[in-house]
Symmetry: C2
Subunit: 518 residues, 2 copies
């Protein structure tokens, strides 16, 4: 990826005319060009250290050139992009090291312990919470441990319906390998085209089809981890009562306890049919109640998402949008994937419930539109940043009885912090029997100091989440950005336990220092 933009440059585009018109109307458009080739600080690593690393992974697999380092600097949050756009690549790693298997990872960790090098595991580079920004203090240098060479499908078990994958596989690569076996993982976060299997596991990712396929941590039945103290292999059964489920200690550990070198995941048969459709609800509250009814009746489609009034209106600002019914109400997308008979049965049952609750089915146009553009939002963000509009997202989750309060409080906090002109949009896209996520998208006219501008809004929103008893992140992980609120969420003993595990597995603290653990 480009150091200050999302994704495939060939797919980047200027704003569509309709969007440009809206942006111009609300914010006024002006150019905010990025520094094209920001310069990097020189690598802090001497020839002896580089030679030592080369002896482990091969000389070709130790890179210190600017281009490689630039692309391993930070992640893809808006602050990350703003810093890169302004020419600041101060967090660049000193070298990018590319191990080929578990044993090479373990050897790199041993070398890093010996020579006081911080190690940042790198999969797709799509973190939006500062998960790739290691603390440099106290270390001789920082290595980006790029897992790009670890892309094997290690095992497929068609009887147990599991597959063992290496961490460097990106979403489409993993799906292609599984598709050759007639299988799918079904895990499609918005970052899917670039994010990696190891990253999904390390951050407890959740995909757009989580209602049907489950969160990534719910799909993992086994994993191997390289730690500075040795190898961990977990996953003796789908579930057991053999002490705490230690798999859940490594899932979500964000590279701070070890480097995940393989995961064994539950897989499904490739769906024969995929159908996505739209529903219209009078209000966000009505739609949310319908989502809750489906979840608690055990009747969830594969995909379900509900936009609030503002997000629905923005979507429909596109002249190609569904129905031409104007911008009133809220849009829900439902998607069904599987065998034809199962899809038909589920769709009929869901349709009966939604119709009974007052939903207005609008057919497949809105669903197809959503499916077509489901990975495109980050490209749009780049175009907006080019136009001087600050765009960012944040998300949380809570129990159903707290959704209305959480929605109101976070929206109010963002609106107050960003001032005029700004837009705050929200949708529900991950649902459970007992609650759901809330995903906010904001747009505001960039101030002279957009980093400070966003920091103020992010702080206000995060404070509102914790005050409401909700989580600081449903699926974006903690990284460095969420640490203060994460500490409040799990409390001092939660933090203490994480520190104890960290000290046990990584006694010299080389793994992603400064990330996750407050």
């Amino acid at each position: 990826m480009h150091p200050s933009r999302w994704g495939d440059p060939a797919r980047a585009a200027a704003l569509p005319d309709a969007t440009r018109g809206l942006v111009e109307m609300v914010f006024g458009v002006y150019d905010r060009p990025a520094v094209d080739h920001p310069t990097l600080p020189p690598s802090a690593l001497g020839a002896d250290l580089l030679a030592g690393l080369a002896a482990i992974v091969g000389a070709d697999q130790v890179r210190t050139d600017d281009e490689t380092r630039r692309l391993r600097t930070r992640g893809k949050s808006t602050p990350d992009l703003l810093r890169a756009r302004s020419g600041d690549l101060g967090d660049a790693p000193d070298a990018v090291v590319r191990p080929g298997d578990h044993d090479e990872v373990a050897s790199v960790l041993a070398f890093a312990v010996e020579h006081r090098l911080a190690v940042v595991p790198f999969g797709g580079g799509t973190s939006v919470t500062g998960g790739l920004v290691a603390r440099r203090a106290g270390f001789v240098g920082v290595l980006s441990l790029d897992l790009v060479r670890m892309k094997r499908l290690l095992a497929v078990d068609h009887t147990s319906m599991t597959a063992t994958l290496e961490p460097g596989l990106r979403g489409p690569e993993a799906e292609a390998l599984l598709a050759a076996e007639g299988l799918t993982l079904g895990h499609y976060p918005q970052s899917w085209e670039f994010a990696s299997i190891g990253g999904f596991a390390a951050t407890r990712s959740s995909g757009q089809s989580s209602a049907g396929y489950g969160r990534f941590d719910a799909l993992v039945v086994g994993l191997s981890v390289a730690t500075p103290r040795g190898r961990v292999d977990l996953g003796s059964a789908p579930a057991n009562a053999a002490g705490p489920d230690l798999r859940q200690l490594f899932l979500g550990s964000e590279g701070t306890f070890g480097v995940i070198t393989s995961v064994t995941v539950r897989v499904r048969r490739l769906p024969a049919v995929k159908v996505y459709e739209g529903w219209r609800w009078p209000s966000f509250a009505d739609g949310a109640a319908a989502v809750r009814t489906l979840a608690q009746a055990g009747l969830l489609p594969t995909v379900i998402r509900l936009s609030d009034e503002a997000e629905t209106a923005i979507n429909l600002a596109d002249p190609a949008a569904v129905g031409g019914e104007g911008s009133a109400g809220c849009l829900m997308i439902t998607g069904y994937e599987g065998e034809q008979a199962a899809v038909d049965a589920k769709r009929a049952a869901v349709t009966a419930v939604l119709t009974g609750l007052g939903g207005d089915g609008t057919g497949t146009a809105a669903g197809e539109k959503w499916a077509h553009g489901r990975f495109d939002a980050p490209y749009l963000r780049d175009s907006m940043l080019d136009a001087g509009v600050l765009v960012e997202t944040l998300e949380t989750a809570t129990f159903w009885s707290n959704v209305e309060r959480l929605y109101a409080d976070v929206k109010a906090a963002l609106t107050a912090a960003l001032g005029d002109p700004s837009i705050v949009l929200c949708h529900i896209s991950h649902v459970y029997e007992t609650g759901c996520s809330l995903y906010f998208t904001v747009a505001a006219k960039e101030s002279a100091d957009p980093l400070a501008q966003w920091d103020k809004a992010k702080t206000a929103a995060s404070d509102a989440m914790i005050a409401a008893g909700a989580t600081i992140t449903h699926h974006h992980a903690v990284g460095t950005d969420h640490k203060p609120w994460f500490a409040q969420e799990v409390g001092p003993l939660g933090v203490s336990v994480l520190r104890a595990v960290k000290a046990d597995l990584d006694p010299t603290g080389i793994l992603n220092p400064g990330v996750l653990i407050p």
Copy 2:
């Protein structure tokens, strides 16, 4: 409960005639009377310590009488019962302390730290893995922390469909409180009549209806824990990506990290309909393949269990048994609970699949019989022990592709270790998309040293589980009995991490010393 027998004395009974005939035929029946009132070692606690405890919980709530201590000694494994029957109550606690709320638990822990008292959290006393047998060495005495007074339903959230329960509630008490709200937890392990909410959480229990309602750890969305270092409150959302899921570190911690003082669980509406029925399969392998098909198709009933040929034959030795078809093949029980329409739909879909796979539906007689006797097996064990027949169970789980091997290996290990005459029965009763549990029941003529006899068989079976890559326990927890194999299952770093967490939360090691952590 009786110190050397299961459950309600009024429900204990001699063997039914049919069973007695079978037992006589296979093993020869002889009386093996238990010592009626085994004596206890005197309490090691002096008046000053007892007064200190009384100052926290009240004088009435500190008990040192023989009867109370006897009923808090060990759990209900067959070795536990054999020791008690022989008059050995050497593991009796020195005092039974009954706190009334979280703060009293916390104060008792602080007192125990100060005075070097080991603390054994006590819920229902139904452990079958030595989870209530604390190591005494290094401590002034051992307290049984009986949670019997903590029986409140603290909160009900009908919107989120959650309930917050105190740990001392036994299965029927929790269900009665929830039923008054039109709700159910749906968690029915065989120990349900006596086991407690806190114990379900601390051991990651799984109930007979796990296919429909889920394992207990999957039902928990929040919990509070009293540790020697303070209070932990977790559960900000149904799921999140805020670091590792720390709830899963306390679930399964068996009282070694802290005392669970409340759990918030997912609840369902009380089912309007319950239907249980029987199916006959030509072989265990055929039945297992059918169970797997249902699990992987997302078509599981609320209850599904499959007996192997031997267990099926024993069941049918009862003249009241289903069908009168002789003892060939394997019996499957399917159960459906919920609203009538949902039950009908699921039952029709499952019936179509099972019939298509060659299953032979035998109607509801076998299902009703199973439902009627679902909590009775431990009473039968007492009657068998009275007759000089050693009866015990053990269980494991693995992935589907490994089930055939695991079944054969554990059965062979038990059969070889127990010699003639012995019986080894097995059933599948907890199923997942990727695998299932195997639950073995054995019966053998008691030798002169039944503890050594069972130890040999248990060791052989446990070695076979680990050699097959399976788990040492699907739902009975680690306790003291499973520690050697648990250490192999999670590996040296898994053990190291648990020790690190233990040292962090319980630095003086007062909590259930010797349990869980190798």
